[in-house]
């Protein structure tokens, strides 16, 4: 295979990685790293360097579109970035102290556990079940197009069914930071309000996710999405879109280090960057349209793939 053919294969793989990554709030490394290491037997160092480029590309191209709409919660992203970036730096600094195999194994187990939790919690989540949301009879409202009455009604319905998360301590912090918001769900055809809960717990989990990024050189969106979806009660779509923005900032904190060390090969990362940019630009258009249930299923599938990869690395 010559360089032109290799570039085309990498470009094609990256279009897929970018489309999936921008939908799921992941960096796309879970598609690119196995292709580079398992198919082309590339040194893991260069594979991680290439993966970091994919994370930055997914984040920028994916967020560029959704940040302007209502789906990305920028206040949540900025606030949680405090914990992920500090965590990433901590992880990078302490990484020589740990055995990578133990870390990979542990990470695989954490992912398995969060996958099980997502499946268990799923039936309880009103905000992600478009069928039941329609039963609230809130008419489809465009941003700024209607009075507060319908929204207040819908908000009451959400709070009542999710055990009134606004009453918790995390809810108070979320109110102080004005994190609560709403997004327009095209698939459900209505505006979905949500109340952010357990902000402190979310911040701690984000620190751990950031640390995993720094330790293992991955985007760790696969931990960030469950942290927002499960712990903070943020709807699935908002979680993936917000994770999309966060992973770019976490990656930037380590990417320059990789570049300076010479871990980023332009003829591997170049086609990956172009492919991911294209894939993420197209993929992010579907985020508002996809059903949250389908998004969750797709995310769980990706989570399983990553968990198996990590456990395998821990064993071999």
């Amino acid at each position: 295979m010559n360089l032109a053919e290799l570039s085309l294969v990498l470009f094609g793989t990256s279009v897929l990685a970018g489309a999936l990554g921008s939908l799921l709030g992941l960096g796309g490394g879970f598609v690119i790293v196995p292709v580079l290491t398992l198919v082309f037997h590339l040194d893991i160092r260069l594979a991680i360097g290439t993966s970091i480029v994919a994370v930055a590309a997914t984040s920028s191209a994916g967020a560029a579109r959704n940040v302007t709409g209502s789906i990305t919660n920028l206040r949540v992203a900025t606030f949680l970035a405090l914990a992920t970036t500090v965590g990433a730096v901590t992880g990078a600094l302490v990484s020589p102290l740990f055995d990578a195999r133990v870390l990979f194994g542990l990470f695989g187990l954490i992912l398995g556990a969060s996958g099980v939790q997502m499946v268990r919690k799923h039936p309880l989540r009103l905000a992600t079940a478009p069928g039941r949301l329609r039963a609230v009879k809130a008419p489809p409202v465009l941003e700024g197009a209607s009075g507060p009455d319908e929204t207040a009604l819908a908000l009451q319905a959400v709070s009542a069914s999710s055990g009134s998360p606004g009453a918790t301590g995390g809810g108070r912090l979320a109110r102080r930071l004005a994190l609560d918001s709403a997004y327009f769900d095209e698939a459900a055809g209505l505006e979905v309000p949500y109340v952010v809960a357990h902000t402190g717990l979310g911040l701690s989990l984000m620190y751990v996710a950031g640390m995993v990024s720094g330790l293992l050189g991955i985007g760790s969106g696969v931990l960030k999405v469950p942290a927002m979806d499960l712990a903070m009660n943020i709807p699935m779509k908002v979680s993936t879109a917000t994770s999309n923005l966060l992973i770019g900032l976490t990656a930037a904190a380590s990417a320059v280090v990789y570049l300076a060390r010479g871990d980023i090969d332009p003829f591997l990362a170049g086609p990956v960057a172009l492919g991911v940019l294209l894939g993420a630009t197209v993929g992010s258009r579907f985020l508002v349209r996809i059903h949250s249930e389908h998004l969750r299923t797709l995310f769980l599938a990706a989570l399983c793939v990553v968990a198996v990869q990590m456990l395998w690395k821990g064993i071999s």
Partner: protein, 144 residues
């Protein structure tokens, strides 16, 4: 437009966009610009590489399922700058990658500025703190 922390905005908190539209638009503009500049630079690098060294793309990159090791590529700022000056395709590609890696950080700078202009000092301080952590990691990275 009322700020997101006013009592009125909170009473209908569910309808309040995550940030005022202007702030989100500013971040979106910076991200789109970064993506466009990076993609254009990457493509330009490929065109230059194809014109100046077409034989390279025909060279064997994978043999028996293994990638063939290549010569070192530019990765210090001086080497990238020098390579661009001499019209080296791979240096232009690395420059495009650097723009891409810094695009999320540029988005954060736009957010910090937009917050400060709207006198949302709490979130201006939060974004400035995140920015200083990232810049600190750059310094650590270059020194380590």
């Amino acid at each position: 437009m009322t700020g997101p922390t006013t009592p009125t905005a909170h009473a209908y908190g569910a309808r309040t966009p995550p940030w005022p539209r202007g702030v989100r638009a500013a971040v979106g503009r910076v991200l789109r610009a970064g993506v466009a500049v990076s993609a254009a630079t990457l493509l330009a690098g490929y065109v230059v590489a194809l014109v100046s060294d077409p034989g390279m793309f025909g060279s064997h990159a994978v043999e028996h399922g293994h990638l063939v090791a290549r010569a070192v590529f530019p990765h210090s700022l001086a080497a990238i700058w020098d390579g661009i000056g001499r019209g080296r395709g791979e240096a232009i590609i690395v420059a495009g990658l650097l723009v891409l890696l810094l695009t999320p950080v540029a988005g954060l700078v736009a957010a910090a500025v937009a917050f400060a202009r709207r006198r949302d000092w709490l979130f201006a301080a939060i974004s400035a703190t995140v920015l200083s952590v990232i810049l600190g990691s750059f310094v650590i990275g270059w020194l380590a």
